[in-house]
Subunit: 490 residues, 2 copies
């Protein structure tokens, strides 16, 4: 157990916050619900961003930027949409401050009251579809495949760093298509991009499927999602991709001339992932010593600690490592040499373990005498020596191995904690101890609501490979319409 970190087994929620603070990932901002993403946490986000952005571009999307401010009236154009977001909106009402009449500080200038209040975007469908109306005239303008990296605001009173904050960073893709089939295909394609990054880069195994109606995005016809299991066996929605049908096109009157010269409403998708994924990484891989970062995501993949007693030793270590460092650099490995003086090796060990750096290398006089370097793996805790001559090549292999091992561990954990319940009594017992439960559902909102009320478990998703044939609903005993995953969730 690391100093200052509550063990997971004692209090998972406290462990989570402790790790974030001690690994210097994030901090609370001064306005309630806001978060400061510190450089190390932001470095993780930058690597995630790059992995997603690359794939968005490879699948033909371009980035753009739409305004933070949305006229209040826009929000109410789509009935379900406004219902979904009205209760958590930051509202701008004035445009000026003035010196306080009592001479202390500043007050809002009442003269600057706006004619129409402005909403700070909780999501950008409305402001984007108002633009699409200007840009889309004909089938030749379609598909329109745009993504935006931005901050959004959804008022939150119960803050949880990375998972639930009033402001968060995300990307939101907004695409326009000539046909339903093409739009549905796009929503699936982007979910697959999410799955790929989650599994191959973040080493987080995810289930893919659709949301039930009650969990759908406000304004969507169909919400697809990737769903992950955290270290406390709760579920986390890691990304969503929505088929929006013609709802926003209708609300903003966006029509196009099809190839037959007829006017038709445009079909839409939107899809997003956010800084919440940083929280998912912490909770999927972290342990009582702190973070464990998958190499492909880690800002630092290998940290090198010279174990030295003098400046002379220092110079020797650097000379000794020169070739190895060059090889690592040309292999694209992100290396950090921690040569801080006056800080003990023990302190450094703990710090880099806390920060989840996949590999630690130590080099001292004895290692040099033996033509070795001493290594420690963060994922398994294994310690071993490597020959200096082949260290770089071996490290590249080890990074791949660690990436795969973290994924495998997380997947085994999820599989070991995914259950089938034979009846509702067992369902309730299982939910109490955590995990995913795969079972039949009769497809009614009433059943879903009753289970949620009684157990706090919700339908996380209807897996794409759902097979209800011959199954019955865990609650009503009626024939199952879907086979679904229930769990308590973040």
């Amino acid at each position: 157990m690391a100093k200052g970190v509550t063990p997971k087994s004692v209090d998972y929620s406290k462990w989570y916050t402790d790790v974030i603070q001690r690994a210097e990932l994030a901090d609370y901002g001064p306005v309630k619900g806001t978060m400061v993403i510190r450089p190390y946490g932001y470095g993780i986000w930058e690597n995630m961003k790059a992995a997603f952005d690359l794939r968005f571009k490879q699948t033909g999307h371009v980035n753009a930027y739409f305004p933070l401010f949305i006229p209040k009236s826009f929000l109410s154009r789509e009935a379900q949409h406004v219902e979904g977001f009205a209760k958590e909106c930051a509202v701008v009402t004035h445009s000026r401050l003035m010196a306080s009449p009592d001479g202390r500080g500043v007050v809002v200038d009442p003269e600057s009251k706006l004619e129409e209040e402005i909403i700070v975007r909780p999501t950008s469908e409305t402001v984007i579809w108002a633009q699409y109306k200007k840009w889309i005239k004909s089938y030749r303008d379609l598909p329109l495949l745009i993504n935006q990296w931005a901050n959004v605001v959804r008022w939150e009173m119960r803050t949880r760093l990375f998972l639930r904050t009033s402001e968060f960073l995300w990307q939101e893709g907004h695409t326009a298509h000539a046909t339903e089939a093409e739009a549905r295909e796009e929503a699936r394609r982007m979910l697959e991009v999410y799955r790929e990054v989650a599994e191959d880069v973040l080493a987080i195994p995810v289930l893919t499927g659709s949301k039930s109606e009650s969990e759908r995005f406000a304004g969507a016809v169909d919400t697809l999602c990737i769903e992950a299991m955290m270290g406390d066996k709760k579920a986390l929605q890691a990304g969503t991709s929505h088929y929006l049908g013609q709802n926003f096109a209708r609300a903003f009157d966006v029509k196009f001339q099809n190839e037959k010269n007829e006017e038709e409403l445009v079909y839409a998708t939107s899809w997003g992932v956010s800084t919440r994924l940083v929280g998912a990484v912490i909770m999927t891989h972290g342990d009582d010593k702190g973070l464990r970062l998958p190499p492909r995501l880690a800002p630092i993949q290998v940290v090198i600690l010279p174990i030295i007693r003098s400046d002379e030793d220092d110079a020797q270590v650097k000379a000794y490592l020169k070739t190895t460092l060059e090889k690592l650099e040309s292999a694209g490995v992100r290396v950090h040499l921690d040569d801080r003086k006056k800080i003990s090796a023990g302190f450094k060990f703990n710090e880099w373990e806390m920060k989840g750096v996949p590999l630690r290398m130590e080099v001292g006089p004895r290692d040099m005498a033996n033509q070795k370097v001493f290594m420690a793996r963060r994922d398994t805790g294994e310690k071993f020596a490597l020959e200096i001559d082949s260290a770089a090549e071996k490290i590249v292999e080890l990074l791949t191995e660690i990436q795969e091992n973290l994924y495998r561990q997380a997947r085994q954990f999820r599989e070991a904690n995914t259950f089938r319940a034979k009846d509702y009594g067992e369902f309730k017992e299982l939910i109490e101890s955590g995990g995913f439960i795969k079972c039949g559902w009769d497809g009614t909102p009433e059943t879903e609501a009753a289970i949620k009320e009684e157990t706090k478990a919700t339908i996380r998703l209807i897996p794409f490979d759902s097979d209800p044939a011959g199954k019955v609903c865990i609650y009503s005993g009626r024939p199952a319409k879907y086979e679904v995953i229930f769990a308590r969730a973040y």
Copy 2:
């Protein structure tokens, strides 16, 4: 002259807006003062960002993210700072909407009124220094070298796309240091980074120097800047780097223990460039046919237009270009093949000229028969054939040549429009016809204000190589304290 674009000579301001719209760089947002950055404009911004971000990291900076929302009280902590920003603040006062009692749309829920109003950041010194107080204890925590890429809001009624919008995108560096000398050195270092990117990537020649007191950033001890001349001979402030002294450390009580174990206030800098630079690129290089983009900045460096009459021709052109395309790709050249059907070659020519793509390649049956490709340079308008076998190598050279030529043209234009006035009468005449005037200034705010009042010209900067020895003030006739650059500015 391109269709739909007002010539520069007729109405420069209209020309600017026409180019932005026709090149699809940006559009107006629904809330007054806001801007939509369209994919092509955003692509230019992404390339700028990458050029700056690379250099920030090379000079030891890390990225982080601080909240959009600032408590109103924070703003008034630093007296000059609040004075500078109070009149242009978006103020959030409520956190919820509700169904309108009359059943039409939504209204602000009066019950959701906030205890303390929140300001949407106009800049982040206050929220960042409130955090630095938590993070800085000792000289070992310094220097702290953090940058943030973010959106900021400064209320604007007279919108001008990219140049003056209520919301804009920028980066803001905020650093903390143990000594004045180190902080001043940092401010200079980052100005040099700005100069380098402006000149080497954006091909915009800039002057470097300090601002006079009246043009300083609200809260700075010293504001350094890069200043450029636009195509209408007006000046544009292209980036600023501030030495903030101990002003924000004092306001937020940020002290550190120095090596002698004494408590001392921290020294600060901040520095920023914004999407306004996209406007600077348009106005520095654009002509009556539209944009002209420097190759290092251009999202597309070479556009290829197959001149074909059948699908068969199309396949032949692609086969013919295969090797050339591979070579260009491996040289890192950004190529776009425009094989849209049913759009005339003439239409495409105009479109890509409008979008400022540095090189256009045309390939038709006759070119193939002659083992050539046909090229057009956007910067000079020159047209010529290249041998297919050496086309890729030649294109790489041409891109460098175009980059340098655009810089040279802009520099010659600035030099041809930089004057020395022999007396105030001549000064007034020169200002009327536009350009930079280099002259002596007695250093008093009164003189500066009088000149501004009479001519609308302001001191753009006191160049670092200012040499006032033996010169007199253009206005007062008193001995010059500085040699400065006056101009009308954006």
